[in-house]
Symmetry: C5
Subunit: 308 residues, 5 copies
């Protein structure tokens, strides 16, 4: 996520960080070069480089705008749903920290149980980040919280966050089986675990199921075809200004298309993706504070305006 | 579902797999041939092949874009709702596996009960795939889990997944009637079964109720009429380039229309449909792992970039 | 609901069943006749039948498309919400059949109670169809399930489905008052009744509150004005082809408008309306099967491709 | 709410009731008069009344359509959310009437309690109508149900419906404190009160927070500017027909804008607003019928096709 | 939030308060000045200041309208979601005040507990306002309710509202551990705290995650480019009227863009932002009234039509 103020007029046009221009400028330049070529070619050999009326382009351009707008809407909704899932995860984690306070009536052992559960919660959140971003390094809290056997199992399981949730579920099931908690309390804790489970399933859904490929392909193709044919339609009325106009149109259409790609997979590490590592750190701070721990991690800061 | 990287510029235009071009190229070619015929005919017999101004086509084309965009939106929402239902099913299945751990306090018999319940859950998911895709072959897990009488009933019932849910419900009702679980625990399990039941009802809704036929018919007709009349409107200003322009427009409009058809019924086996068989396999892996089983099925791999 | 395959190219244009063409063809023909009259009149008396430039028509046509698209979206959402309500009703009915299995611990009396409750559920669904479609005939299951006094009350009450829900609620309240079920079990059953109650309230909302009349009126008027003025704008550039073009535009706009009317009241008996009688029959089959009854009703079949 | 059949072709154009034409005709007439003036002025003094090409108007007109469409969508969503809230209120009221049947086990006192609770429910609904519409007269049921002290407090409180909900909450809290109901039953009743509380908060939200004023202002201004400048753009191509065309455009744009205003505040008493007084009466009938009362109020009838 | 009547025709155009015109007039004036310069320059040196056909501008303008409309929609949704969150907070606060009435059975001590809990609720709401608006001053109710140690902790914690929720959670956990409330009652209170927790997480989500920066940047750039190039496209057909037309277009596009910025961060203190301080005061009034307190704060009044 890019963290910065809306820039002023001058920086607005000079700003490159956070813009999709880095990724689309080759395509925009090709369109502009093609435009220049068409204008030059037509002035020398009008019979070989035909120019045509722009009306059909208006039709295709507006249709393309409508369909691009629709795809962008779908991608933005995915991105925002991803953010909502992590907001629910934050809330569910705080819920668990609050609810487990009731275990204190069991004395010191249960206090240890609460601490372990909240630490497992931190591990779950960290593993979810690793799972969604395909990282490899094990987290410090996991090192301190899990037993050697659990670490072994964690490293071999196909779905680490799911495994951590199972560990939490086992703890509550044991508390229930030994009668340490009532069935109502068990169902209270279970609902919160279910909420985390729902977040996990939602994140996997967003990561594993992109917008239908046929749709992306059709829009990419139409956008390319439109932008590459545009100079022939503009040159007649715009003359030497064609490269500029075609460049603006290409920048807008390719830019929206590229932004859609970025938002479609919201858990990646591109500039406009969600800062799930930073959110995970916030959850950890919130949970450690709830446990009364003093040595809290740093609040994550954006690096070069980008927060991951 | 098509699983692949977004292609580069060259492959973008040469790619056929996953594109709707396979299904719409006859129509696109007809429009292009008709365009060529109109241009040729007009140059020979202008009085018989009239050309007209393109302005009315702009109006119809933009209106058609708006309505096609709306239908595509509705179809995409159906597709995404289908995916969400299967995400809920994954979460509910993991919930049940976690919640049934509490049965362990009942000793060995209940452990067997838990195992049977989780296996029934796997059978439910498999039967749901069969039910939605009209398959015939009985699943291995069903063979191993169900008694002969149950298999018999399963083969005669009109709604197999509903029957499996009933079996699970009966198990919990018996546990409750014998006092093995408290009423709170029963209601906890029942809510999870209710969630699966809701997924079943949602999937049946999506499968049985397409977008209103009158709507599809109207849009198909308008799209055909528009594309077949387009050459007469384009030939005047585009001349010999008419077939290319008409082809691009026809590709976009027929393509979106065909994609809408594909997404409308998201549980089918077309390339852009949902990989529900693969999701079912993932659920099975997750559940077997929760039971501590060692012999896990393979993670499903896409065949020729397509995951079913 | 229309149940049929997407037609091929030829039948696509010849198909009349399920099309809105039956209801709008007079209007479309009037527009076409008016177009012919305008063209003919202008060729004879140009000073009396003025033709105008089409540009203002583009503006109005696109604005109309946007607003029609919006109204169609709202109507489709109503139709789909109606379908979702009936999907929830199916799920809630199956939930009740599953949950009431727990009554079996009470012995034979309670088994009778379960049977009566599930039969009341069938009656509720049937009465809901009658209520939404203003039918008069009492259903067979109601005849067999209700006592004479209850039938009497049913026939005089202002809201029959609500009355049936009260009967079910009374049964559960009695079971609770006599201590046959625990408070948790009571709240479990009550939540399922509450779900059915929510479906009832939702269906009444859709039936009683159409899209604001002012909106419908404004769009109808604008669509008529636009289509009746269109020939004057098209005749100049299209000449003798005006009636065809005006017919296509009128077909699209009137057709969308008429489809919106059909979807706006989704519980009616027009071809594109929801098949709630058939869904009710499916629920009955599912419930009777859950009770283990052998003599199941027929699955409803579409009559002449239309399922009601 | 306007209750009537979709009118036929003739009445469609003559109908005034329910149309926004009553409120916008001065503006439309001004635009038409201005158009006539522009045409006449231009024919006499072309150098003072310049006419311009219509192309820039198309751009502004389409942009305006898109933004008006968006605002109308937002206003319609508010209207429909208001209707959904009242549907939830109907369902919650019926839920409470059903759930309180369980109090019957407490004997005659509790039956009185149930009756008082359901009557308080009726008062709550009536007070909500008064609260949303700023009425002053106290309702008959309130007269009969509340004690003098309660009436006194009701008249001084800042939020009457909230106060009635508190009275209901107090009754349940007393039943719980005296042990007349279990904690589960208390939480069941409490959830239903919470639902009513949510409806109250939702209605207050819709009433107190209109669509952002800056948005309304921007759209009003653009719509006025556009319609007042339109004659200059149309006169060139339409000549003497300009007043008619400008009138149609102004009718559509002003009409949609005015309808948006009407739907934005759905609890008012304009023709297209929600008939909350009638819905309240329906709830009262449903609740009195559930209590077995014989003397039911009349079903509200539309007055001159308008139901309030 | 701006609280005022929709203005009449004259005030509509003269009104400045609440309009975005204050923030965008420099940009609009620049566009108008540039237009005048283009017209003047072209009349003197046509070969240096080329004018071009407006057709390409239509295409870009309509595309820009669609994308701006989409961004405005997203921003409006954020604003409305913020309002919904505060509506839920109002409802949850009233729920807690109602539910805690059940504590009265514990005698005087518990009455004090209820009072403290409701006051903590008021503190939570106030702290949420401070948290979202980065204020510094501690609230009066907090002064009176919190102990010195709690105030100390509140001033050092990183998330004050979260800390207050923890205090409330601790109170309920103690009541549960000492057996003063049953597990069901605990879970009832816990659910209400969970609702407040969800509101907190939702508000933090809206505050910390703006619409993707790349999107805002792309739209700002395209809007500037379009408006600065527009005079060259309009001057040809509009001549001396170009500055007026360009000014209207620039006002609409810049205005919508600026409104989007305002709605995007709905908890700020700009004129169109949500009046969360006023809502917080309403919640306080409602809660104090529920406690029976006599000395209620004033209902917040808009200052110069603006309510914060």
């Amino acid at each position: 996520m890019i963290v910065r103020e809306t820039p002023g007029l001058l920086t607005l046009f000079l700003e490159i960080r956070g813009s999709v221009i880095r990724r689309i400028y080759p395509r925009v330049l090709i369109v502009m070069a093609l435009s220049a070529l068409v204008v030059w070619g037509h002035s020398r050999e009008p019979q070989f480089i035909p120019l045509v009326d722009g009306a059909p382009f208006s039709l295709v351009g507006i249709a393309l705008s409508i369909f691009l707008g629709f795809r962008n809407n779908a991608c933005y909704d995915r991105w925002w749903e991803g953010r909502k899932l992590w907001g629910r995860l934050l809330a569910a984690s705080r819920d668990l920290a609050r609810q487990t306070m009731v275990l204190a009536r069991q004395g010191g052992i249960a206090t240890g149980t609460r601490s372990r559960l909240v630490h497992l919660n931190i591990v779950f959140v960290d593993e979810l980040v690793r799972h969604l971003r395909y990282h490899d390094r094990l987290n410090q809290t996991a090192e301190a919280t899990l037993s050697p056997e659990e670490k072994e199992l964690l490293s071999t399981t196909r779905n680490p966050p799911d495994y951590i949730l199972q560990l939490m579920g086992e703890t509550f099931a044991q508390l229930r089986c030994t009668g340490s908690i009532t069935d109502i309390e068990f169902s209270l804790f279970d609902r919160t675990l279910g909420e985390m489970n729902g977040v996990l399933a939602g994140c996997e859904r967003l990561r594993n199921t992109p917008v239908p490929f046929g749709y992306t392909l059709l829009l990419h193709r139409t956008a390319y075809l439109f932008c590459f044919m545009l100079p022939f339609g503009l040159a007649d009325v715009l003359g030497a200004l064609t490269p500029i106009a075609a460049g603006v149109v290409a920048y807008t259409f390719f830019g929206l298309d590229a932004l859609g790609d970025e938002l479609e997979a919201p858990f990646g590490t591109l500039p406009n993706d969600l800062p799930i590592a930073a959110i995970a750190k916030s959850i950890e701070i919130s949970l450690r504070q709830a446990l009364g721990e003093a040595d809290l991690p740093e609040v994550p800061k954006p690096v070069d305006t980008i927060l991951l």
